[in-house]
């Protein structure tokens, strides 16, 4: 009895421990701290404390990673709904009691730390969706009620997050849910309907956006379409970030030598625009290194999802990977000026405790799924 328990549990966890995934994440976070240091130097005394804080978060992240890796992920199947409800409550309370930073309410001040529930909302949505999609009979989603039931689970937190306002996280949440449903599959009929609806809805989105988006979001969109409209206002971020990336060249200007970074031309450079600092100071080679590390993480994660013990584990892993995927894709594209500035951090690398912790929780979940696979 105890032998089987050990065999399928802790022992398996040790034997099948996902060294690759964990080390990949930790290396990314350490590179992140180096970049944050570089971004923080011109900020003076404030900057220094950012580096120390991020290092503290990383240590906490590693501890959590090790602890949660040994926890059976199936516990999430049981507790998923409660976590989801807890996060919803936290999202509601953040919009009531939250502290305002740069115009949005995103944080709850716990005294010893500031907790950003929207970062964890992504994970909780992945858990409930994984349960909902893992429990059904296999096969593509065939009817609309099923699609809307699953979409409903994500729409509620999306609305709360979007009104904080944190458009970036709301978009990621939505895309993660869509990705998970796509992974399950849709019938041809549904695919064609969605395609048709999308075409029809373009003008609707255009006019709807006029009334629904906040002024600063509209400004961002407009200046994304034409940054030169307002080179010192809202277009500033896009232009400065593009210059930083472009001027990096093959090998970059060198550690602490990026003028865009050091002369403080880059906006939010330790958080959402950390990739611009990387591009400027380490060039194409540096960027490629980070992107390869991130890609390796995602591919490894997808491989784990394919080998999971049950459907819940598969869906959970796919969801976790889509979180990372969309963060990376949107963030890097944003920094390069390919998509509008929506405020999405680069997983593992950007400054921010909640973001770093949620990246490490993703790693822990994947590790847990991996160590409980059937061995062949």
């Amino acid at each position: 009895m105890s032998k089987t328990y050990l065999d399928s549990g802790v022992l398996n966890s040790v034997r099948k421990f996902e060294w690759f995934l964990c080390l990949d994440g930790i290396i990314l976070a350490i590179i992140g701290i180096v970049l944050i240091y570089s971004a923080a130097i011109p900020m003076g005394g404030v900057g220094r404390s950012l580096v120390i804080k991020q290092a503290a978060w990383l240590s906490l992240g590693i501890v959590l990673l090790i602890l949660f890796s040994f926890v059976d992920y199936r516990i999430l199947e049981r507790w998923g709904l409660w976590i989801y409800i807890f996060i919803l409550v936290a999202l509601i309370s953040v919009s009531i009691f939250g502290r305002v930073t740069a115009g949005s309410r995103r944080w709850i001040d716990l005294g010893f730390m500031r907790f950003q529930p929207s970062e964890f909302a992504k994970l909780s949505v992945v858990i409930v969706l994984a349960k909902s999609l893992g429990d059904r009979r296999r096969g593509p989603l065939t009817d609309w009620t099923e699609i809307f039931r699953n979409l409903g689970l994500v729409i509620v937190p999306v609305i709360f997050v979007a009104t904080q306002p944190d458009l970036g996280t709301a978009i990621v949440l939505f895309l993660v849910a869509i990705s998970m449903m796509m992974f399950v599959g849709l019938t041809k009929r549904i695919w064609t309907t969605i395609l048709g609806l999308t075409l029809v809805s373009f003008p609707l989105i255009y006019f709807g956006g006029k009334y629904l988006l906040l002024d600063y979001q509209k400004r961002r969109l407009m200046t994304f379409l034409n940054p030169d409209l307002d080179p010192l206002g809202a277009g500033y971020q896009i232009i400065q970030s593009q210059i930083a990336v472009g001027s990096g060249g093959l090998f970059g200007k060198g550690f602490l030598k990026g003028t865009q970074n050091q002369l403080m031309f880059l906006p939010a450079k330790h958080t959402d625009f950390i990739f611009a600092v990387l591009s400027e100071e380490w060039g194409f080679v540096g960027c490629m290194t980070i992107l390869v590390l991130l890609m390796a993480f995602m591919l490894r994660g997808l491989a784990i999802s394919g080998r999971a013990r049950d459907d819940f584990g598969t869906m959970l892993s796919v969801g976790c990977i889509s979180i990372i995927f969309w963060h990376v894709a949107i963030n890097v594209a944003m920094v390069m000026g390919v998509v509008p500035v929506v405020g999405v951090p680069l997983s593992f690398v950007s400054y921010g405790g909640s973001s770093l912790l949620s990246s490490f929780l993703v790693t822990a979940i994947l590790t847990s799924v991996s160590s409980r696979r059937f061995s062949r």
Binding site: I41, P42, M43, G44, G45, R48, R137, R138, G139, F183, G185, P231, L232, Q240, Q242, I243, A244, V245, G246, S247, G248, G249, L250, T259, Q260, Q262, L263, M264, F265, S279, E280, G283, F284, C287, M288, L291, L294, M295, M298, L299, L302, A303, S305, G306, R307, A308, R309, D311, G313, T314, V318, I321, F325, A329, V332, A333, M336, V338, R373, F374
Partner: protein, 613 residues
């Protein structure tokens, strides 16, 4: 189609999907890398040039704060450039050289200089870090003469608030200071940022919205080291509006100079309009101490000074009006029919009521006194009797008619209301009605009664102008920088008392004789050629005390406050004066001569001096 979930382990069922998703990851990453390649390696050079030329920075231009001027346009508060020596830590070539060059001229020891430079290294590298603020012009020329421009050091001008007249009118003008975080959080403080200066007290505070002006911005070009090269476009800041006061600075200065006692207040108003001509509160302070920020030492000493120099006594000093209140009691007595002008009361020097003895200030009594003599000689026993007969409520009615016991509506919002006791008030606060003994003391303006000097000034003004209670005002005009008036003051009659003309003239006649009559208490304010009306007051600080002692034998804090109210109704120039001297002794003795000097100066007459006895 749908298989049973137990038929296949996930790894087989989901294999194709994992492959598809993995390829999506590959494709997206490839697209990102291709885009990166084109940005960094194909277009890289042009971006490189842009990075080198990318030197445009947005600077915030703070608007010059409006000035506060006296009625003749003389500046009482203005802006003056102050110089700040700062270093840009990222551009320092040799710290040693900076220490050697500047420690002497700045008067810093090399050790202190070194620690300052070390501290600056913690600041943003390409932003200037101030080493020394408030460098005087002389020091600036010294620095320029004795040191060659060193890399990493810059001298910048910065406007700060300067009060050319020092402590003149300090309480009215007020001071500015760095905005505090609660002020920043307040709605309506929109557009303010940490480090901004706002009015903290006085006119500086009340007229903040006018004085502040509108912020502008400037695009500047900087070089690769962050140094300022050229200005590009700018939207100039709009400077704040000037506030023109009703006060003539030279007259104010005269009044302040003549006020030689330790503490007290003087208010001079134009009775017909309520225009404040002088407003003195002593002791004062030098508002320049607060600019740009007050040192801890100065703040401590100002705050712990037992005479409270920061307090504006003219609007916040609460004094028993003492015998000046007898004018109110007199009007109440006549109007309510409690007394007739001819009825005599015998003053033996004291009055007994309920076992308590109430003394007249004249130890041996006034003998038989009628209404007129009671005011002229300020007989306490007469007004004890009157107060007893009237009761607190009827006296309060007339006190309120004169505007006592409530703010006068002057532009300075920190004004205190004071207190006029009524039965309702007494019952609410003490649970009992006003007792007879208290009515007696209220009759002579003692007891609970508390008024501010500005209230007494408006009462005096009303006695002059026929019973119009005016709203006093300090601001004559608000003028934008181009000279056009934004706001022009018009006098406001708050209410008309509509007194019985006969009673009114009786009181005024008595007030006239306070100055003119040989036994009048205010004879020291007699000025030949001017019809001065007055009333003296001596408000006791310690209730029971030996009458025999002369003022000099009593400790300062136990001496009475000297009060004096007076007006002159010589047309066309009129004036009303209130003098309060804390612990100044008798009103007729110390306050009246000061009032006389002020009135003489106002009418351009030579001071006749104290009358010979």
């Amino acid at each position: 189609m749908a298989e049973l979930r137990s038929n296949l382990v996930p790894q087989d069922y989901y294999k194709s999907r994992v492959v598809i998703f993995s390829s999506i990851v590959w494709i997206v990453m490839a697209i990102l890398l291709i885009r990166l390649w084109s940005l960094q390696l194909i277009m890289g050079e042009s971006f490189d040039d842009m990075a080198i030329e990318n030197r445009i920075r947005l600077l915030r231009l703070s608007p010059p704060r409006g000035a506060i001027l006296d009625r003749n346009g003389k500046a009482l508060a203005e802006n003056s450039p102050s110089f700040t020596l700062s270093i840009v830590p990222g551009t320092i070539k040799s710290g040693r050289e900076i220490i050697e060059t500047y420690s002497d001229v700045l008067g810093f020891s090399p050790e202190k200089m070194r620690s300052v430079i070390e501290k600056s290294l913690l600041a943003p590298r390409f932003m200037s870090f101030p080493i020394k603020k408030n460098i005087s012009l002389e020091e600036v020329s010294l620095i320029k003469a004795h040191s060659h421009e060193l890399k990493g050091v810059s001298l910048d001008a910065w406007p700060y608030r300067y009060y050319p007249c020092g402590d003149l009118l300090c309480h009215v003008i007020g001071v500015t200071g760095e905005i505090s975080s609660p002020e920043l959080e307040k709605v309506g403080r929109v557009g303010y940022r940490p480090g901004d200066y706002v009015g903290k007290t006085g006119i500086e505070r009340e007229y903040e919205t006018y004085l502040r002006g509108e912020e502008g911005w400037e695009q500047i070009e900087i070089d690769a080291k962050g140094r300022h090269l050229a200005s590009l476009t700018r939207k100039p800041a709009k400077s704040g509006a000037d506030i023109v006061l009703t006060i003539d600075a030279s007259f104010q200065k005269f009044v302040e100079d003549k006020f030689t006692e330790r503490a007290g207040s003087v208010i001079v108003v134009d009775p017909d309009t309520g225009r404040v001509l002088a407003m003195v509160s002593k002791p004062g302070y030098d508002p320049n101490l607060f600019s740009p920020s007050i040192s801890e030492l100065n703040w401590k000493s100002l705050n712990s000074d037992p005479l409270h120099p920061l307090e504006n006594r003219s609007i916040r000093g609460l004094y028993p009006p003492a015998s000046t209140f007898k004018l109110v009691t007199a009007l109440a007595g006549l109007s309510e029919g409690v007394i007739t002008p001819d009825r005599n009361i015998f003053c033996s020097g004291e009055m007994e009521l309920g076992g308590q003895v109430y003394r007249c200030w004249k130890q041996h009594g006034h003998g038989r006194v009628n209404f007129h003599r009671a005011i002229v000689e300020s007989c306490d026993v007469y007004f004890y009797e009157l107060g007893l007969k009237l009761g607190a409520d009827r006296m309060a009615k007339y006190a309120s008619l004169f505007g006592l016991g409530k703010p006068t509506g002057l532009e300075l919002s920190q004004e205190l209301p004071g207190l006029i006791p009524t039965n309702f008030w007494k019952e609410r606060n003490y649970g009992t009605f006003v007792k007879d003994g208290e009515n007696v003391t209220i009759g002579i303006g003692q007891g609970y009664t508390l008024t501010t000097p500005i209230q007494l000034a408006m009462m005096t003004a009303a006695l002059d102008n026929g019973g119009n209670v005016m709203r006093p005002y300090l601001v004559e005009e608000i003028r934008s920088r181009d000279g056009s008036a934004i706001f022009q003051q018009t006098p406001v009659v708050r209410w008309k008392m509509n007194p019985d003309p006969h009673n009114w003239s009786l009181i005024r006649k008595a007030m006239r004789d306070v100055v003119e009559d040989k036994s009048g208490t205010g004879r020291k304010c007699r000025i030949p050629g001017l019809s001065v009306y007055a009333k003296t007051g001596t408000s006791q600080v310690i209730s029971a005390r030996e009458k025999t002692k002369s003022d000099d034998d009593i400790p300062y804090h136990e001496r009475s406050h000297a009060m004096f109210v007076a007006f002159v109704d010589n047309q066309p120039k009129k004036i009303a004066v209130v003098v309060v001297i804390e612990h100044g002794g008798g009103g007729g003795k110390t306050a009246a001569p000061l009032a006389r000097k002020i009135i003489c100066r106002y009418y351009g007459l030579p001071d006749p001096g104290d009358p010979r006895e």
